[in-house]
C-alpha cells in the first residue's frame, strides 16, 4: 500500500467501523463505542500522519488516487488533498473522535448510534477529499442519511420535524447542485474537478452558461452554509440534535457548503463568481448582522450558538467572495476556528444540559461559581467565538475583513457593516456570559459536579487548538496559503 | 428462412406489455408477481438476442441476463415471502384491500 492510498483508508476506515458497530448486539453498547472510538482514533492518527508528510510548499493536489471507475461515463475514483481540504480533513477527523467520546454515555440503541456517527464520518471525509464530481455528490448525499437518523432517533422533543426539515431542505439544495454538475458535464464532458477548474480558469465556459450553473451550485451550497435567508433549518436541527450531532453539524457539515464554494464555484465559474460576488457579499453581511441580532434575542443556549454560526459563516462567505488571498485565508481560518470553537460551545452546553436538563439562559446563572471549570471554559469559548486576538476566532475574522476591504469586487460599505458585526458578536456573547457564567449561582446548579475527567479530555484538544492557531497563525495558514494563492491566481483576483 | 434481431425484440416487447398489463390489473398479489416474472423474462430475451446479434463474441448480454435471473429469483422469493406474511397479517392477498398509504 503506497502512501497515496492513505486517503482511501481514511475515508473508508469508518465504514468498516460502522459495519462492525452495527453488528454489535444491543445488549453490549460498550463494545460499539469502543469500536467507534478505536476507528476514529485510527482515522485521526492517519490524518495526523497525512498532515505530517503533507508538502506545505506545494499548491496542487497531493496523495492523488485516480483510477477509472465507470469509464463509459468518464467517472473516476479520484481522491486528493490540497491545503484547503487538509485543514477540513483534520478538523473532521478530530471532531469525529471528539463526538464519539462526547457520546460515551449514550446507551439507547448504541450500536446503531455509533454506526451512524461512523457512517457520517465516511461522508464528511469523502466530501473533502473527492476530486470527481460524481464521487463528491455521493459523499455529499451520504452525509444526509446518518445525520437524519441521528437527529430523528436520538434528538429532542421535536426531532421528527427537525430531521425531516433538515433532510428535505438540504436535499432540495443538493438537487440544484446535481443539475449544475450535469450541466457542467454536458458542456465539458468530464466530471473531473481538477480538469473542470482548469477549464473554468481558461475561459472555456461562456459567461451566460456560467451564470446559470453558478446559480444552481449557489442554491446547493448556500443552503448548507447556511446563508440568509436559507438558514432556518439550522436552529431547529441544532436544538433537536444530540450533542455530538450538533458538534458535527456545526463543525463540519456547514463547512461543506463553503468548501463547495471554494472548490467548485470559484475556480470553475470564475467570471460568474466575480459578477455575483457583490450580491453574495450583501447576503453574507446580512447573515453576519442578522445572525448576530437574532442570536441576541434567543433564550435557548443552543439556539444562540446556532444563530452565532449563521453569523460566523457570513464571515466565511465574505472572505471567499472577496477573492483575495487575505480573504480566502481568512475564510478557511474561520471555517477551522468555527469548527473548533462552536464545537466547544455545543459540547459545554451539552454537558450543562446533561446535568441540569435545561438550556434556558434564564434558568442558568452563576455557572462559574457553581462549576468553576465549566464556567471558565464556557467563557473561554465565548471569547474565542467573539474574536478575541490571541484566540483562533480573531485570525479568520480579521483576515476576512482586510480581504474584503482590499477586494476589487466588494464595496467598502459592506465591509464596514461586517465590522459592526464583530461588535454585535461581542454583544450577544458577553450578554450570554453575563447571564449564564456570571452572577449568583441559580437553584438548578446547586450541588452539581464540575467537569469530569472525560469531559476535560474532550475539551482539552479544542482549547489547545484555539490557543495554538490564535497565537501562531502559520500553524494553520501555512497549509492554506499556497492553495489559496494558486486559486486566486486562477480566478484572477487581487493578490 | 431466417429471422433477425427485430423479430426477437418485437416478441420481447409483446411479452413485456402482456406482463405490464397483468401487473397493472391483477388484484391478487401472487398474480402480480407472476406478471412481473413475465416482464423480466421479456427483458432477458431482449438482452440475449441483442447480445447474440450485435456483440456475438463478448456475451455481455448473456451475463446481464444471468444476473437478472439471479436477482429475479431473489425477488420472487422475497415477494412470495412477503405475500405469505401479508396473508398472515390481513388474511388476504388482495392488493386493493391493502391501502394503508391512502391520503
Amino acid at each position: 500500500m503506497g502512501i497515496s492510498d492513505l486517503l482511501s483508508v481514511v475515508v473508508f476506515l469508518p465504514l468498516a467501523g460502522a459495519v462492525v458497530s452495527a453488528l454489535v448486539p444491543k445488549t453490549r453498547p460498550e463494545v460499539a463505542k469502543w469500536v467507534a472510538a478505536i476507528t476514529m482514533g485510527l482515522g485521526l492518527a492517519l490524518t495526523v500522519w497525512i498532515v505530517a508528510v503533507f508538502d506545505r510548499t506545494a499548491s496542487g493536489m497531493q496523495f492523488v488516487t485516480n483510477v477509472a471507475w465507470v469509464p463509459q461515463a468518464g467517472i473516476h475514483y479520484h481522491l486528493g488533498v490540497d491545503g484547503v481540504s487538509i485543514t477540513m480533513l483534520a478538523l473532521s477527523s478530530l471532531l469525529g473522535l471528539i463526538a464519539v467520546i462526547a457520546s460515551w454515555k449514550v446507551t439507547d440503541r448504541a450500536p446503531t448510534y455509533f454506526a451512524m456517527l461512523l457512517l457520517l464520518q465516511v461522508g464528511m471525509n469523502g466530501v473533502f477529499l473527492a476530486l470527481d464530481f460524481v464521487l463528491f455528490y455521493m459523499f455529499w448525499e451520504l452525509v444526509l442519511v446518518p445525520m437524519f437518523f441521528l437527529i430523528g432517533m436520538w434528538g429532542g422533543t421535536r426531532r421528527e420535524y427537525a430531521s425531516v426539515k433538515f433532510f428535505i431542505y438540504t436535499l432540495a439544495g443538493s438537487v440544484f447542485m446535481l443539475v449544475g454538475m450535469i450541466a457542467l458535464y454536458l458542456h465539458t464532458g468530464t466530471f473531473d474537478m481538477v480538469a473542470l477548474a482548469k477549464a473554468g480558469s481558461t475561459g472555456a465556459l461562456g459567461i451566460g452558461f456560467q451564470n446559470w450553473v453558478f446559480l444552481a451550485f449557489f442554491l446547493g451550497f448556500a443552503v448548507k452554509v447556511p446563508l440568509f435567508p436559507l438558514h432556518t433549518w439550522l436552529p431547529d436541527a441544532h436544538v433537536e440534535a444530540p450533542t455530538a450531532a450538533s458538534v458535527l453539524l456545526a463543525g463540519i457539515l456547514l463547512k461543506m457548503g463553503t468548501y463547495g464554494f471554494i472548490r467548485v464555484s470559484l475556480p470553475m465559474l470564475p467570471d460568474a463568481a466575480r459578477a455575483w460576488a457583490p450580491w453574495i457579499a450583501v447576503l453574507a453581511v446580512i447573515s453576519i448582522v442578522y445572525g448576530a441580532a437574532v442570536a441576541f434575542a434567543q433564550t435557548d443556549l443552543k439556539k444562540l450558538v446556532a444563530y452565532s454560526s449563521v453569523s460566523h459563516m457570513g464571515f466565511v462567505m465574505l472572505g471567499i467572495f472577496s477573492m483575495t488571498t487575505a480573504g480566502l485565508n481568512g475564510a478557511v481560518a474561520v471555517m477551522f476556528s468555527h469548527g473548533v470553537v462552536t464545537g466547544m460551545l455545543f459540547l459545554i452546553v451539552g454537558m450543562v444540559y446533561d446535568r441540569t436538563h435545561t438550556r434556558q439562559i434564564a434558568d442558568l446563572s452563576g455557572l462559574s461559581s457553581a462549576m468553576p471549570v465549566m464556567g471558565g471554559l464556557l467563557a473561554f469559548a465565548s471569547f474565542a467565538s467573539l474574536g478575541l486576538p490571541g484566540l483562533s476566532g480573531f485570525v479568520g475574522e480579521f483576515l476576512s475583513l482586510i480581504g474584503a476591504w482590499q477586494s476589487a469586487v466588494i464595496p467598502h460599505w459592506i465591509t464596514v457593516i461586517a465590522a459592526v458585526g464583530v461588535l454585535l458578536a461581542a454583544a450577544y456573547m458577553l450578554w450570554m456570559v453575563l447571564r449564564v457564567v456570571l452572577g449568583k449561582p441559580s437553584e438548578v446548579l446547586r450541588g452539581l459536579p464540575d467537569a469530569s475527567t472525560r469531559e476535560l479530555w474532550v475539551l482539552a484538544p479544542l482549547v489547545a487548538l484555539t490557543l495554538i492557531v490564535g497565537l501562531y497563525w502559520s500553524s494553520l495558514l501555512a497549509f492554506v496559503d499556497p492553495a489559496v494563492k494558486a486559486l486566486v491566481a486562477l480566478v484572477g483576483g487581487a493578490a | 428462412m431466417t429471422v433477425g434481431p427485430i423479430a426477437f425484440m418485437a416478441l420481447a416487447g409483446v411479452l413485456f406489455c402482456i406482463g405490464l398489463f397483468g401487473a397493472l390489473t391483477k388484484k391478487s398479489a401472487v398474480m402480480v408477481l407472476m406478471s412481473l416474472e413475465l416482464m423480466t423474462n421479456a427483458v432477458n430475451l431482449n438482452l440475449v438476442a441483442v447480445s447474440r446479434f450485435v456483440t456475438p463474441s463478448s456475451m455481455a448480454g448473456q451475463f446481464a441476463a444471468a444476473f437478472i435471473i439471479v436477482v429475479a429469483a431473489a425477488e420472487i422469493g422475497l415477494g412470495l415471502a412477503l405475500v405469505l406474511a401479508l396473508y398472515r397479517m390481513r388474511k388476504t392477498v388482495e392488493l386493493d384491500r391493502i391501502d394503508r398509504l391512502r391520503g
Binding site: - | V3, G13, V14, C17, T25, P56, L78
Partner: protein, 166 residues
Amino acid sequence: MPESVAAVPFIVLAALAVGGAAMVILSRNVVHAAFWLLEVMMAVAGLFMLLSAGFLALVQMMVYAGAVSVLVLFTVMLTLRRREDAERPLDLSWSAGLIALGVFVAVGAAVVSFVPPAVMAPVRTPGVTEFGTQLFTQRALPFEIASVVLLIALVGAVWWAGGEDR
C-alpha cells in the same frame, strides 16, 4: 451479420410464449395461471437455445421452471383457504390496457427504428466453456456479489415467511 436463426422454430416458440403469456393473464384460476407461466418459461428457454445461449437456457429451466414455479404453486396453495378461492375474476381494466398498449407502441416504434449494425461473425460462436471461463475470471466479482444477494434474499425470505414463532 452473423449466422441467422431459423424462422420455423422461432415462430413456433414465439407463438408458445405469447400464447402462454396471454393465458397467464386470462386464466381465472390461479393454479392454471401458474402452469401457464411455467409453459412460457420453457418456451423462453427454448428461445435461448435458439440464440445459442445454452447455459442460460439451462439456468432458465432450472431456476424458473424448477424452483420459481414450485415456489409460486406452494404460495398459491398456502394462501388458499378453500378450493373455490382459486377462481378469481379477470380484473380487466381499460385504462391499464391503454397504458400497456401505449407502452407497446412506444417500444414497437423503438424496435422498428432499430437498425442492426453490421457485425463480423466470430470465428466460433462462444459456448458454455467460454461462458464459464469468463464467469470465474473477468466477472468473478459480480458473481460473488450475486451470491451474496441471493444469500441475503434467502435470509430475508425466511425471516418474513418465518411465522409468529420468532
